[in-house]
């Protein structure tokens, strides 16, 4: 292949040309805007070099929303293609690329960063800390994730996207059956983002173990922090498996090793095993923090403490361990012995028990409470019945004999969307609304938010419930077309309509933000929801150092007790505060990673070597750097506190 021909996409279409133009125009507009408003310096010093966990959280949030849009456009295109039998909107290749990138983007570049956004923003505030344990590492994590995501997204216009599904099973994903560079993108981009995630796990584990305010024992940790702790542990155990699997896959594709090939002793099932040894815990990495968020929102808007705190914690710890013992349920049909399937069938069903406990604890938290139907609470209420349906269909799938009939069908697709959308997407949308005033200092419009919620919920039901039916009627997943005689047509049309409603809700959410920026009052106080945990004891927006004085925790709901029982939270006097310095090196190093990844994908070896040298140079420079951070003086603290509407003691 000539040097340039490999950058061409294998099967161009008008859709792709249009998006190329759109991407080009957007980039030009951004560059023009930044120059026109003289914001380059602000962007660099305020954001690109920041090590502040709150700003990193906000950047994660923006990236996640962008990716939600990208993945959502993919979803609409897929459902439009399937809306009527024998549709000619997309061809097979294009459809395959779309569902593969949709899956990857939604799981790894939308749900993950959205969770990371909330963890970054909330956890240090909840435990009364001034930052995470390793602030600069945190910046590297974010930028590696971001560069991985960008690298993955350019595949659409340079060289072609992966087309072997988000699970990328070999041998289909090997060179023999996927000769163009798509799967290289998959291997390398996910690898880069995954390294960032692994570092986040280490960072948050350390933060929660080491940086808690005095008096915050484990049994006083807020539930979202507990879930983040457990999640960090899962990340630390699961992500190395992904790293290794991706390295092996990359070796097969770039260096002709034979780990997963058909011939020469390769083992295609090894990939499936490694992938799901990571992949199953991964869904708990997403859902446990979501559970944590619901456990913050529901008590606040029920005006009650969380029911069964201890059993909530215990069930989470139990799930985290058990999530590593069920991966085989993703391939009951691979022909292992009946007793193997039986064992994994049972371990899988057992996970339903702790999950059920949590559902009932939330219900019992609302019981005898004082329920306010705010937008975050609506998402939490909608979550309960929908997630229950998703959960019980999960138990149905876990019965291996029956799974022989559900596997690889729309029934499965309906199930996992039924847990992931009410579970994760509702949680992060609700939580973003909940924490919005903390992040940005104003509230999102409630009325518009409710409209968005209803569009999303009704759209969701229309989009996914019919899939249970067509699945049982024999509609396999990942087919790009079907004939009239199958009778799937009407149901798929309903699904398409539901998808459109969900797309409308996305635009409503964006509009809510826009509308609220213009019309919402700018002064909402530090605790607009009358909430219960420590993050609400900070000013709005939160100053750089979070807490002028580190809080003294005496109970599970320290802030609530401070408000209503007169317990003193902030004791003592101001002292100078030590904070880390901003640094450009995480951003620069990640940019080099991007180049390095790009070079590997296209086998441009000299550039790869330069990239590698660049990465090591960055690391070496860092080790010679002397940077002790800086101090914020007492004077400055007093000034800031006064500005935020009085000293908060």
């Amino acid at each position: 292949m000539g040097f340039f021909t490999r950058f061409l996409i294998p099967n161009p279409s008008p859709v792709i040309y249009t998006s190329m133009v759109a991407i080009g125009v957007t980039i030009l507009l951004i560059v023009f805007g930044l120059t026109h408003f003289k914001k380059w310096f602000y962007l660099w010093s305020g954001w690109l070099t920041t090590v502040d966990h709150k700003r990193i959280g906000i950047m994660y949030l923006i990236a996640a929303l962008l990716m939600l849009f990208r993945g959502g456009v993919d979803a609409v295109m897929m459902r439009a293609q399937l809306a009527v039998p024998d549709n000619k909107l997309l061809d097979s290749q294009h459809y395959n690329e779309i569902f593969s990138t949709h899956g990857v983007v939604m799981i790894l570049f939308m749900a993950m960063p959205y969770i990371m956004a909330l963890m970054n923003f909330v956890v240090p505030l909840q435990i009364g800390a001034r930052d995470v344990a390793f602030p600069r590492l945190n910046a590297i994590s974010f930028w590696l994730f971001f560069m991985g995501a960008m690298l993955f997204n350019i595949s659409f216009v340079i060289g072609g996207s992966p087309d072997a599904g988000w699970s990328s099973y070999f041998p289909l994903a090997g060179n023999e059956f996927s000769p163009h560079v798509g799967t290289n993108y998959y291997m390398i981009a996910i690898q880069i983002a995954g390294i960032g995630t692994l570092m986040t796990g280490i960072n948050f584990l350390t933060t929660i173990l080491k940086m808690r305010a005095p008096g915050m024992t484990f049994m006083r940790l807020p539930m979202f922090t507990w879930s983040s702790l457990v999640t960090s542990v899962i990340i630390i155990f699961a992500f190395p498996v992904l790293t290794v699997a991706l390295i092996m896959g990359t070796m097969d594709r770039l260096f002709a090793t034979k780990f997963f090939t058909i011939t020469d002793g390769g083992m295609d099932m090894l990939w499936a095993n490694l992938f799901w040894v990571w992949g199953h815990p991964e869904v708990y990495i997403l859902i446990l923090p979501a559970f944590g968020l619901f456990s913050e929102i529901i008590p606040t808007f029920s005006r009650r403490n969380l029911y069964g705190y201890r059993s909530m914690v215990a069930s989470m710890v139990f799930i985290s361990i058990y999530s590593f013992f069920v991966w085989t349920h993703h391939f009951f049909t691979m022909g292992q012995a009946a007793y193997v399937n039986s064992i994994f069938s049972i371990t899988t069903m057992v996970i339903a028990i702790p999950t059920g406990i949590k559902i009932f604890n939330w219900l019992l938290t609302m019981w005898r409470g004082r329920i306010r139907f705010t937008v975050p609470m609506l998402y939490s209420i909608g979550f309960i019945p929908l997630f229950t349906i998703g959960g019980v269909t999960g138990v149905m799938l876990a019965m291996s004999a029956a799974d022989y009939q559900y596997h690889n069908t729309m029934f499965l697709v309906a199930h996992f969307h039924n847990v992931i959308i009410p579970g994760v997407v509702f949680a992060v949308l609700g939580a973003a609304t909940y924490y919005w005033p903390k992040m940005f200092g104003f509230m999102l419009n409630e009325r518009l938010g409710k409209w968005a919620f209803w569009f999303l919920t009704i759209g969701f039901c229309l989009a996914f419930f019919p899939m249970y039916i067509t699945g049982l009627d024999g509609q396999a997943r990942r087919i790009y077309t079907y004939s009239e005689s199958t009778g799937f047509g009407p149901w798929n049309m309903v699904t398409f309509i539901g998808t459109v409603l969900m797309a409308i809700s996305f635009f409503l959410i964006v509009y809510t933000v826009y509308y609220s920026i213009r019309h919402a009052p700018k002064d909402v106080g530090q605790d607009p929801w009358d909430a219960r945990s420590l993050e609400w004891a900070t000013h709005n927006p939160v100053p750089e150092y979070n807490f002028a004085i580190i809080p003294q925790v005496n109970s599970r709901e320290a802030f609530w007790d401070a408000k209503y029982k007169g317990v003193e939270l902030f004791k003592g006097d101001y002292e100078k505060i030590h904070m880390p310095n901003n640094s450009g090196s995480p951003f620069i190093m990640s940019c080099i990673f991007f180049v390095f990844g790009f070079a590997l994908i296209f086998s441009i070896w000299f550039l790869a070597i330069i990239g590698l040298i660049g990465i090591f140079t960055c690391m070496a420079l860092r080790s010679f750097e002397i940077d002790h951070g800086h101090y914020i003086s007492v004077e400055e603290i007093k000034e800031t506190e006064a500005k935020y509407g009085g000293v908060n003691k």
Partner: protein
Amino acid sequence: MKIKWVLLAILSAIVNVLSGCERLAVLDPKGPQAQTQANVIWLSIAIMAVIVIIVCAFLVYVLAKYRDSKLPKDYEPPYIEGNHVVESIIVGVPILIVIFFSIVSVISNNKVEATPEEYKGQDPLVIYASTSDWKWHFSYPENDIETVNYLYIPTNRPLEFKLYSFGPITSFWVPQLGGQKYAMSNMVTTLHLAADEAGEMMGRNANFSGKGFAENMFPVEAMSQVKFDDWVKEVKATAKPITAEKFNELLKPGHVGQLTFTGTHLGFSPAPEGENAGHHHGSSNSDANSKGDHMEHDHE
């Protein structure tokens, strides 16, 4: 609040459709294995629906009773840590349900992995079903014939499918006969099925295998043993033999229509079993006797 009624309405609509006029393929079984699976599915739908209804009912009750606007001004929610009785119920009941389902799962699992009870005594018709991009090759060693992209089977006789692939992982699925199993390149998996009734059914590859995947289907026709034997005779009289060249031609990616041959490709291109095997998974209980033995039986 309204949402609960919407949900209940949807749920009952689903149940109606599932049991209603036009039976869904999986719930309209034509063989014992699919029957077992349909029974398990119905059982789990019923119990799961009860759970969903209980959760929804409790939610509706709580939301109706404890919403802010309906409570007296001075109502302050109590501080409740938990309650041992309540907690034992919400832990105990799910445990019982899971135990029950575990038993059902293990029993049904062993059933679908073995030759169907009803046909235990008979020796099975062995059919090798292999895929290449994007076709199905069905070899009948007992009858010494081979078809491409369509499958004829006799009723009331156990069938033993031997699955493997000449390319990506695929999955052999005939919803009305029973659930699927993977076909992989370096091993053979075994699927035990049987048909009770004559009739035409849909079969397909259910595991994504690239560009031509959507069309990777095959019609299945179940017919009495007599008719089946007639068909075999006719094939033998009319079809051409399969040759190595012809077969290699067929392995190339692409779609072909339905084809019929005498002889099978197993002679010159054996399945990855025995000394050809990449490795073995434990499930197949009759691997050892399969090929050689059955070829000696002669039903004609």
